[in-house]
């Protein structure tokens, strides 16, 4: 547990109405409002209840396999030191969320939310998924607790993520292909919201990222903050000090906010979030809401969105299905505007190169999402002295992505 944040802390938001500055909030249909207010009350009670924290910690340890290692990456460190000007090139560590049960950080949040659902007496779970990682994590916790679940997934994603669809089915979930819009993550979220509004009486919606109406951005962040809290302790043990820079990819941004949040009040720790620039910002085919979007309201919160001048949402593009969403969590919008976190765009091609480099240099196949974070290393490492320390959040493993990567590289399997 971390101490109460100081008065001028960057860690004290959202405010009592669920806002991070002008971002966040509860932009939902009236039907959902009473439920969202109940969820907030129940979450406050759960936070005060030691038995909730105990059960959460126990499941993270024995079911998920936490703590995940903080791994010193010697060959990546050497590689970038050689490429950098003399005296530059920091020591690189990986936070190994890829080693969690189900292969990514998503499970941390699902454990927390299903415990809340059970506390609230809900008997049915719904979730949206893009790449299928959150769907698999949700199906996993539902199987573990014997609760039926329905996963909404755009039919485009169903076609390109068949292994994950089969995994979800094996775990007992019903997977509903969504045919509206571009048939990807945004449309899956619309359909999940439609289900929820029609089934509020018995259904809990496990949102997969630190976005959506308050209190979701807060509670998802809190459940994912185990990443940053562990990193802090592990780094103090390994190096006797805090890291100089944290690096994470940002789709909705749950792995990044989980890594960053416990360090927000440590001014010596710089933070960089990596957005998916797809084919390049200038092509319009990207998923970089901060670099290429502006503030707006969608899916229950106010945040940066890809949209046209009329406020119509535009389609995102990224080679990584997990980053292929036209918005991001509201706390990132706030951290972007106040300058605490720097956000940089990385293209599909840069991510592909980093993906291969990580395989070859460290023997770790990273998720394409995490490869976006790794792809910022060439630039960031040339700016940092060699006695500095940089931690990359390797948010997931890349087994799910090998078909996508093979296709992009023109390899026939």
């Amino acid at each position: 547990m971390t101490a109460q944040p100081p008065v001028n802390s960057l860690r004290s938001l959202p405010d009592s109405t669920g806002h991070f500055g002008t971002f966040g909030g509860r932009y939902v249909a009236e039907t959902l409002m009473p439920l969202i207010l109940d969820l907030e009350k129940e979450y406050r009670r759960a936070k005060e209840d030691p038995s909730f924290q105990e059960e959460f910690d126990d499941l993270l340890k024995n079911f998920v396999g936490r703590p995940s290692p903080l791994y010193y990456a010697p060959r990546m460190t050497e590689h970038f030191r050689e490429a950098a000007p003399k005296g530059k090139g920091p020591k690189i560590y990986f936070k190994r969320e890829d080693l969690n049960h189900t292969g990514a950080h998503k499970i941390n949040n699902c454990i927390g939310q299903i415990l809340l659902a059970i506390r609230m007496g809900k008997t049915r779970i719904i979730a949206e998924t893009g790449a299928g990682q959150h769907g698999v994590a949700t199906a996993t916790v539902c199987a573990r607790f014997g609760i039926p679940c329905v996963i909404y997934m755009g039919s485009t994603d169903v076609a390109r993520q068949q292994p994950n669809v089969f995994r979800m089915k094996l775990l007992g979930a019903e997977v509903v292909p969504v045919e509206s819009g571009a048939k990807t993550l945004k449309d899956a979220m619309n359909e999940a919201l439609r289900d929820w509004v029609a089934n509020v009486h018995d259904t809990f919606y496990i949102i997969g990222t630190a976005a959506g109406p308050h209190p979701y951005p807060e509670l998802v962040r809190d459940f994912q903050s185990v990443i940053g809290t562990e990193t802090r302790a592990q780094m103090l043990e390994a190096e006797g000090r805090l890291p100089d820079m944290l690096l994470a990819c940002v789709g909705g941004g749950s792995n990044a906010i989980g890594m960053f949040h416990p360090f927000l009040d440590d001014p010596e720790v710089a933070m960089v979030g990596v957005e998916a620039a797809g084919h390049g910002i200038e092509t319009g085919q990207h998923a970089a809401s901060l670099t290429g979007g502006k503030p707006g309201i969608l899916h229950g919160n106010k945040t940066y969105l890809l949209q046209d001048e009329d406020g119509q949402i535009t389609e995102a593009h990224s080679i990584s299905a997990g980053l292929d969403y036209p918005g991001l969590g509201p706390e990132h919008s706030w951290l972007h505007e106040n300058g605490r976190v720097r956000y940089v765009p990385i293209t599909d091609d840069q991510a592909l190169e980093a993906f291969q480099q990580c395989c070859a240099l460290e023997g770790i196949i990273p998720a394409l999402e995490s490869a976006h974070a790794l792809a910022a290393l060439p630039q960031l490492t040339t700016e940092m002295d060699e006695d500095k320390i940089l931690v990359v959040n390797v948010s997931g493993r890349g087994d799910k992505d090998i078909f996508t990567v093979a296709e992009a590289l023109g390899v026939e399997l």
Binding site: A29, T31, L35, H299
Partner: protein, 259 residues
């Protein structure tokens, strides 16, 4: 603020008709609704992500956007409607992002200029009123709020605060155009709402036939029909005015003769 709502609801139960702007021949279709006997018109502003709508209105949104409908077009339909029909209340219904993207003041002023009497925004609950409500009230445009089966007595005052024109009771917890609520539950809910407020209560979601409309009009001040009309636009394309007028006439007669 205009007295068009007052006039429309003073004659007994009112028929409120919804179509999506830019889907089909909007101006002609709006005229057909009025000719058929609609007392209040709701014009849907299309949005890429209509998450409170069922398949019928979702598709109407996408058809409209697919044809290149812009926010300017919606205000043009509204302003021209106001010139042709000086007395019929006109409501814009839609989602928060297109309404607030240029700032709520801009939107409220455009509504006032076009002769729009009221606005229904699906995803701005009372808790986020600041995002749109004050600007509308300053411009003399009614903010029409939604009450639902999940709106309990404790929340109702917050829903009513700052709302005017009429109160839209969403009779089912769900999305538009799917199932209809049981008559008993509607009667009970409308009685509660009317006890708490002086403004008219219109009931919608899932109302498709004159029979349903008639039963609701026995207890409510207004009946809202949307998906059934939007289905006709889908079916008949640019030649939907005749069928729209026919259904509206049947609905209007049922509503107006209910009591």
């Amino acid at each position: 603020m205009s007295d068009r709502f007052e006039t429309a609801f003073s004659k007994g139960p009112a028929l409120v008709c919804f179509i999506t702007g830019g889907d089909g021949d909007t101006a002609t279709n709006l005229d057909a609704l009025v000719e058929g006997g609609a007392d209040v018109i709701e014009l849907g502003m299309p949005f890429t992500d209509p998450m409170a709508d069922g398949p019928a209105i979702q598709e109407a949104n996408l058809r409209s956007l697919g044809k290149g409908t812009r926010t300017d077009d919606i205000f043009r339909y509204a302003a021209e409607f106001r010139q042709r029909h000086p007395q019929i209340p006109l409501v814009l219904m839609g989602y928060a992002n297109p309404m607030t993207i240029r700032g709520p003041e801009w939107f409220a002023e455009e509504c006032a200029k076009a002769g729009v009497d009221g606005v229904i925004c699906v995803d701005i609950p009372p808790e986020e009123d600041a995002a749109l409500g004050p600007a509308l009230r300053d411009a003399g445009v009614s903010l029409i709020r939604l009450a639902t089966p999940t709106t309990d007595a404790a929340r109702l005052p917050a829903v009513l605060e700052g709302s005017s024109g009429f109160l839209y009771y969403v009779s089912v917890a769900g999305i538009t155009g799917m199932q209809q609520a049981a008559q008993g539950s509607i009667e009970e809910a409308v009685a509660k709402l009317k006890a708490a407020s002086d403004i008219p209560v219109a009931v919608g979601f899932g109302v498709r036939t004159p029979e349903q409309a008639s039963s609701i009009a026995k207890v409510a001040d207004g009946v809202v029909v949307g998906s059934a009309l939007v289905d006709l636009v889908k079916q008949h394309g640019d030649k939907a005015a005749g069928p729209l007028k026919e259904l509206t006439s049947a609905l209007a007669e049922a509503v107006h003769s209910a009591r």
